[in-house]
């Protein structure tokens, strides 16, 4: 493997954010499952599960701050915004690849570069995740962390159960996302290529 085939696509702050966030998600999912289904899951005591969930929640919020600072500070945030002129054909092309081309060995229509590392479907998915779903999950989590403190906002949103419903539905969504995300990460030129890249920062160019 020659060095000129390697592309630096994941800068250090992004990698730190990614893995801290990933570990946080795993812990939040485990403790979240126990908090909701205390009668079924007993990984920890419920008291510990709630405390871990709260602390890890703040770590995830904090590391999201790092992500925002890095991407907006360097203006690399544009990586997440699709080109509206080509967005729809790009999505169709990418969907065709995942739904058919990948099975017959066609090349990925999206070629990753440091300035264009996400394909159209990833841009759409991550834009929603990072700007809507994750902030919504953090805000509802914050409200549920101190119900009394935020009771005015909670009432404004329709009550505790409404806030909890949003948090729980997003929780289930993120559980499903983790499964699919992990699988999609195996679709590189080798099953572990994307995982390695997220540790080293370098993606092998093919």
């Amino acid at each position: 493997m020659s060095h000129d085939k390697m592309m630096y696509v994941h800068p250090a702050p992004v990698r730190v954010w990614h893995w801290v966030n990933a570990a946080g998600f795993v812990l939040l999912i485990l403790t979240g499952l126990q908090i909701r289904f205390a009668e079924t899951f007993t990984f920890f005591t419920l008291e510990d599960a709630i405390n871990i969930h709260n602390y890890v929640g703040f770590v995830v919020i904090g590391i999201y701050g790092l992500w925002v600072s890095y991407y907006f500070g360097t203006m690399k945030i544009k990586l997440y915004f699709p080109d509206l002129r080509t967005f729809i054909p790009d999505v169709i092309r990418q969907a065709k690849y995942y739904g058919y081309g990948i099975f017959i060995g066609e090349p990925n229509p999206h070629v990753m570069t440091p300035d264009n590392k996400f394909n159209a479907m990833q841009k759409k998915a991550y834009l929603g995740l990072m700007f809507v779903f994750l902030p919504a999950q953090m805000i509802t989590g914050l409200f549920l962390w101190r119900v009394k403190k935020f009771e005015d906002y909670i009432s404004l949103l329709g009550g505790l159960k409404i806030v909890d419903t949003v948090h729980v539905l997003l929780f289930f969504f993120f559980c499903a996302f983790m499964i699919v995300h992990f699988y999609l990460a195996t679709l590189g030129h080798s099953a572990t290529a994307h995982f390695k890249a997220m540790f080293t920062g370098y993606e092998e160019h093919h």
Binding site: E39, L46, E47, I50, N54, I104, G105, F172, A176
Partner: protein, 373 residues
């Protein structure tokens, strides 16, 4: 009158005299009416100096006493202050100056027994004494059944205790303090229920029992007949939904708030140190006994309440939006949506991965073809 008649007359005379005297003695004690006590104790300035030099107020506000649970049950002053058998108004104080402490457990036997083995009674050995009236007050005891958690706690536990100092382990302690009565955890022998009260958004207040019934155009006796359509004495989810719709039609727009309170049984006095329930799972679990009993509580003017059984499934609905015990009263349909999402994610992976495995020969063949070209 002959000697025999004279003898009979004397005997009957003596009998009548004894009966009259007996009646007279009885009338002496029963004759002490509350109004007689109030002749002196209705004076706001009535007080006495205690040995420590402190002034003890002896005034009783009769207007408040009138609505006390004891007066409403025809219990008079001397029924409790039983050592006052006669009033002698020739004296400056018409009864003994030092009266024995009121023995509440004389009537409230079971409460007294439960209290005997409680941390509050045991505190007596440490130089302090906590008699019943330290918590229950002296003369103005009213029904607590319809009181909210705040009212119950302010009247009792918070007089001495500051729970904020002791519950650092408890997540969201302020939420627990405002929605769960202290005794729910601290008197584990007591049964509990969730009490639902209607909060009116327009008037920005909890509706009184009569106001709530007025909105439904019914009364305490007619309420179940109106709401409980299948006559099983339990308001199930559909019936609850219909009741909410009926309220909306009558312009009563609001929501039901829930609180966990104890049944006011004698066992509530049996509170002991270290015996409080500290396992979150006891409550935050859908099988918890804490949520088995759910009631709509409608207060009455005398402080008592009318209670109507509600199916616990109502707690899992969006009609009780401001009461949610994490996990314990969760909305079940969300779990089903969650299962669909998670299994949907797994299915995508399994189907895609299977298709990739099944199409390996195709890719190999095409790869070979490309190399040949």
């Amino acid at each position: 009158m002959n000697k025999k008649n004279q003898g009979n007359f004397l005997i009957w005379g003596a009998v009548v005299l004894v009966v009259l005297l007996a009646c007279g003695r009885a009338s002496l004690s029963y004759a002490i009416e509350n109004t007689e006590c109030m002749d002196c104790h209705g004076d706001e300035s009535l007080s006495r100096l205690q040995s420590e030099g402190m002034k003890e107020r002896l005034y009783v506000d009769f207007n408040k006493f009138k609505f006390s649970v004891h007066n409403l049950n025809s219990i008079g002053c001397v029924d409790c202050h039983a050592d006052i058998v006669a009033l002698n108004f020739d004296n400056e104080i018409p009864h003994p100056a030092a009266l024995a402490p009121v023995n509440c457990s004389g009537c409230h036997t079971e409460e007294g027994d439960a209290y005997k083995d409680s941390v509050h009674k045991k505190a007596g050995g440490k130089g302090i004494s906590i008699p019943c009236y330290a918590c229950h007050d002296y003369h103005y005891i009213t029904h607590l059944d319809s009181s909210s958690v705040y009212e119950r706690e302010n009247t009792f536990c918070l007089k001495c205790h500051n729970p904020g100092n002791y519950h650092d382990w408890l997540p969201q302690k302020d939420v627990h303090f405002s929605l769960v009565e202290c005794a729910v955890c601290h008197a584990p022998d007591t049964s509990r229920h969730v009490s639902l009260r209607f909060f009116d958004f327009v008037q920005a207040k909890f509706l009184e029992g009569e106001e709530f019934l007025q909105a439904l155009n019914t009364d305490y006796d007619g309420f179940m007949g109106l709401v409980d359509q299948n006559n099983d004495n339990v308001i199930d989810l559909d019936e609850f939904e219909n009741m909410v719709l009926l309220l909306r039609q009558k312009d009563a727009i609001g929501t039901f708030h829930g609180e966990v309170v104890v049944e006011l049984t004698p066992a509530v006095h049996h509170i002991n140190k270290g015996k409080a329930n500290r396992e979150c799972e006891q409550c935050h679990n859908p099988n918890s006994a804490f949520f088995q009993q759910v009631q709509i509580s409608l207060n009455k003017k005398d402080g008592s309440r009318a209670q109507y059984q509600v199916d616990r499934k109502v707690l899992e609905s969006y009609y009780v939006n401001h009461f949610y015990a994490l996990g314990g009263t969760r909305v079940r349909v969300l779990d089903k949506i969650g299962l669909v999402l998670i299994f949907g994610g797994i299915s995508v992976v399994v189907v895609h991965l299977s298709a990739r495995i099944l199409t390996v020969p195709t890719r190999r063949r095409r790869s070979k073809d490309r190399r040949h070209k």
